[in-house]
């Protein structure tokens, strides 16, 4: 399961893992903003941006096989839209790349730019979640003044994800074991509806038990929170490096 894998990667130890979640979160947002604001027909600049997520992934001990598999998995929608650019701009555009000169369709350039930017920003996002434990991320969100209710909700969701996904897996195995042929569409949807309904029923029972356990521990609907976050010198170094990196690439963008 993907979430379990992310969870495991995030539980490792490395210089990147030890950074404050807020630093990484805001850094990722800033970085993404810079990447997508690069000109829509530029290829070279987005490629240069890849250096940063590359560094994060290497230092954060995230395997590249994992990153590539994930990128492939989430890319179809963007790939289709990027490719559609080919139909709308077939004008030849001269491209100069050092000693090489050639002409390509403008649409190809734009599409390629979208795909490269996608790869770069997604690697950065993977670099964020694969090096930050989810509860640290939640604590970071809380410290960034995201409403408590929402942070609590995210925490619950993540915690029960592991339980219910397993349950769904068992139900799916049971269906596989008994379903020997393709049923009609109506039947299939009915079966799916029943399975989801059964899942829903057991989820509601779980929620009921959780309620008991919360109330038995004195919970009355008011959400309390503890602060356990602290910026360190590593965060300052990281932020400083990121700002310099972005400034350099901004200069490069201007120069090209």
């Amino acid at each position: 399961m993907h979430h379990a894998q992310v969870d495991q990667l995030a539980g490792q130890r490395s210089p990147i893992h030890s950074l404050d979640a807020r630093t990484k979160l805001i850094g990722t947002l800033l970085f993404t903003g810079f990447v997508i604001s690069a000109a829509p027909n530029h290829i070279a600049v987005p490629i240069c941006y890849a250096v940063w997520p590359f560094a994060i992934l290497v230092l954060g001990r995230v395997s590249f096989r994992f990153v590539f598999r994930q990128l492939l998995l989430v890319s179809p929608f963007v790939l289709v839209l990027a490719a559609s650019n080919l139909f709308y701009d077939r004008q030849a555009v001269p491209v100069v790349f050092g000693p090489i000169r050639f002409e390509v369709w403008g649409g190809l350039l734009r599409g390629l730019s979208i795909v490269i930017k996608f790869m770069v920003t997604m690697s950065m996002l993977i670099g964020l979640t694969a090096t930050t434990r989810f509860n640290d991320l939640l604590a970071g969100l809380g410290a960034l003044r995201v409403p408590r209710l929402f942070v609590m909700q995210l925490g619950f969701l993540y915690r029960y994800l592991f339980l219910l996904v397993n349950r769904a897996d068992h139900i799916l195995q049971a269906r596989k074991a008994r379903k020997l042929r393709h049923l009609g569409v109506k039947k299939e949807i009915q079966v799916a509806g029943n399975m989801i309904g059964a899942l829903l029923g057991s989820s509601i029972d779980t929620a009921h038990q959780v309620t008991l356990s919360m109330q038995a521990r004195g919970f009355d609907g008011r959400l309390h929170r503890m602060h356990r976050m602290q910026f360190g010198w590593a965060d300052a170094v990281y932020s400083g490096c990121l700002v310099v990196f972005l400034a350099v690439l901004m200069g490069l963008q201007r120069a090209i």
């Binding site: 969870d7 539980g11 008991l212 109330q215 521990r217």
Partner: protein, 253 residues
């Protein structure tokens, strides 16, 4: 001194009219370790829910001398900890630390005190250094220990547990018994495992069909083979052999 729990003439009906508990009368003294035994569907869990006022029936329940009612339920829940059957449902926070701190946070203690309590409690249940673990990364035995820690950190006088011994292997079960017998709190444990009851508890309440059949010293009730059979239970494994016959061990090839 008042009893830990005193139940007088308590009855409860489900919404569809079926009688779940009928004329329950029982007294549990402070410091006792009580096993609530009975077959499936006897009303053990319902009785536990009633003690925590998650259901409301007729009759009176006194906890530590206070009568349960809607006004004092919050102060009574501070005295009485409740551990639900499935640790997955007891441990609902992202980390063990957050879970163990959940109760103390609701008691509105200050931060240092909470951190100290969490550390102490985790040490007590043998989960030292596991603060930052997520509950789904714990073993079944560790989950059980963490579930108990979530209640212990509130420093209750009475702890109520619903079948804490389910889905544990013998080693984890031994550890659990060791942990629980070391606690000074009054323990009320619903269980179908007679061996577990015999090893941990000094007092037994036998419940069947919503009624208290008998209550008394564990040794006496649990060794009564006829009574046990009648209510679909069994004489504990260990005491069966201690009655004279030695266990026959299959010889290993």
């Amino acid at each position: 001194m008042s009893a830990a729990i005193d139940i007088k003439q308590y009855s409860y009906h489900y919404a569809n009219g079926v009688e779940a508990l009928c004329d329950i009368d029982l007294t549990i003294k402070h410091g006792q370790k009580v096993a609530l035994i009975g077959p499936n569907g006897a009303g053990k869990s319902t009785l536990l829910l009633a003690m925590n006022m998650f259901i409301e029936g007729s009759g009176q329940i006194f906890v530590d001398g206070l009568e349960l009612n809607r006004c004092n339920i919050h102060s009574i829940r501070k005295v009485m900890g409740f551990v639900v059957q499935d640790p997955e449902e007891q441990l609902f926070m992202p980390t063990v630390f957050d879970d163990v701190a959940f109760g103390p946070l609701n008691l509105e203690l200050d931060q240092e005190e909470i951190i100290r309590r969490v550390k102490d409690t985790l040490k007590r249940v043998g989960l030292e250094g596991m603060e930052d673990r997520a509950p789904y990364h714990l073993s079944a035995g560790q989950k059980r220990a963490a579930a108990i820690a979530t209640v212990l950190s509130m420093k209750p006088k009475i702890i109520i547990m619903d079948e804490p011994d389910t889905s544990l292997d013998p080693r984890s079960r031994n550890r659990l018994i060791e942990l629980l017998s070391g606690l000074s709190q009054t323990l009320i444990i619903a269980t179908c495992n007679m061996d577990f009851a015999a090893r941990l508890c000094d007092h037994v309440i036998l419940v069947d069909q919503g009624r208290v059949v008998v209550q008394g010293a564990a040794e006496k009730i649990l060794s009564d083979g006829e009574l046990m059979d009648k209510h679909g239970l069994e004489v504990p494994f260990r005491s069966r052999y201690s009655a004279g016959n030695r266990p026959i061990r299959p010889s290993l090839p």
